[in-house]
Amino acid sequence: MPDKLLIEAIREGLFQEMAADERVIVLGEDVGKRGGVFRVTDGLLDRFGEARVIDTPLAESSIVGVAIGAAINGMLPVAEIQFLDFIHPAMDQIMNEAAKLRYRSNGDFECPIVIRAPYGGGVHGALYHSQSIEALFTHIPGLKVVAPIDPYDAKGMLRSAIHDPDPVLFLEHKRAYRALRSEVPDAPYEVPLGKARTLREGNDLTIVAWGWYLQEALAAADEFMAEQQATIEVIDPRSLRPLDSDAILASVMKTGKLLIVHEANKFGGLGGEISAIVAEDAFAYLDGPIMRIAGPEVPAMPYSPPLEQAFLHDKHDIRAAIERLAAY
């Protein structure tokens, strides 16, 4: 199987879904002639034409709103928000309309849209080009939120998202676009939404991590296991809502210890929800406190390299947390 970069896997997925189904259209800022700010949609315009690859005005509210309207009238739109930081004007459309359509109509309408958005920091993007704000969206019933980081998962989950009858926010970590590769089949395939992936199996400690930090967590776990007798289970939820709570609970019931790692700040972050689920349903199995490694409580990722570095965590921080938790 050929190795592909994350960006190549997503692009290939878009090509194949558009080729297979004329209802699939792509719209967003600079997605056509420019090929997207990160060039994810490069080549789509030439292949599928202006009617299906639509350069929009810089108006996120209506990019999402138009996608919703097209979707309820039979299309399968894939809207791109250029940076996840830009999505806030579209919050009304996402939360009040897309997530509610099925519910408000008692099942008469549906809203099969995908909103793709690059997110995350570590690329010197500073205040408005670095956010990890997935928790704002995982709070919304009716919306699905996925954040695959592995290229194989990304291609398969994109297909699932496009054909999912509900609205899906599809998060792509921009730092990983050209940094991560994995074996990705040329032919289309689906990876189901709502299913976690266990990357390391272990018995003594569970790490739940997603996004770029999954790499750091894996590196920390591997180093720890190379030196210690203990084994660590590493789970990538991939899908943040619906969340595969069963997989997380089963793992914690086995290991008795849970470390959650995410880039977003801690307060009100998704790690808190995962902690609560485990505390509610697997309390008796816990042998130590649930621990979280998360971003600092600052309103933005600062620009200057030492400041940005101070925001971010790496495998050393995670290794230190593993040591502390393993000692219980």
Partner: protein, 377 residues
Amino acid sequence: MSRAKATTTNGAAANGASRRRGRSASKTDNGPGVDALHALEKSELLSLYRQMYLIRRFEERSAEQYAYGKIGGFLHLYIGEEAVAVGAIKALSPADHLVTHYRDHGYALAIGADPGPVMAELFGKETGTTKGRGGSMHLTHVERHFWGGYAIVAGHLPIATGIGLALQYQEQDAVCMCIFGDGATNAGAFHEALNMAAIWKLPVIFLCENNLYAMGTAHQYISAVPSMATKALAYDMKAETVDGQDVLAMYEAARRAVEWCKAGNGPYFLEAMTYRFRGHSMADPETYRDKDEVEQYRSRDPITAYQEQLIEAGVADKAVFEQIDREVEEQLEAAIFFADASPFPDPSTIYDYVYAEPIWETIARNGASEDSEGPRG
């Protein structure tokens, strides 16, 4: 199309039609609406009256049911604006689409929703248009592609543009009509949606009901221009202003808009000048407008004016209208009985239709896990 041009065209056509049909239309010989007066069948003309009267009485009966405590929450009555919905919807075909603001009872009824389910929706009953999920502000009519009333002002305009995008892409011979108030024209989504519809030449009719007030604030305080249609000009969009208290003028203007869109010319902006005779909602002290002003507008009631117009034109006599009125009263009596007799939805249905496939996590997070036998039970 400018107002003057429309008047001339219609006047000329009307004179010919007038002679042919032998209907007298002396009062409005040169005005908008005369064309339609002569072009429409008697049954169609009377149907427009019936719909307006149905909406008027539906709203009055709703207010009464609200007072009895049968309807809760926020109730926004359409009284005074009936001619806008009835005239506009008359111009639509079954293939066309509709999205509206939250003052949507009139549109639901005009597009063909049975008063029974609409009243039942207001009552929060299982037989309502969305089984009580939405209530007054969120009515729908699936068969006629009425995608609902929307309660976020201007939030539905981008959705209408998207529906238009799909219609164009699918090469359908249909339009999307989008209803909103003057207040919406000051919101960002309005401008985004109009711009996109214009650059892509989408078949969307933006119909602004200008009733002079955005809830409790007169438009001169919150809009830089008094005419909402001028805002469409910024997007090089065809626009016209029409008398929204004249159902036939309204119908003609909407028909022009439909034809324009279906011919592939892009979107069309209609500003209907109208007035709501009642408060913004049932809980409105109306401190922001004079009683004299309200009385002045009430004297131009779109329903009595239309009835007089039809009587004068010899379409029908008083007895015909009295008969229609009686039938409408009976229909509404039956609708209220239906709503009253219908059951409330089963509380357990609260979890239905969050996603296409039920997701246990949603149910568990809603606190049902304690006594349920779900995956985490």
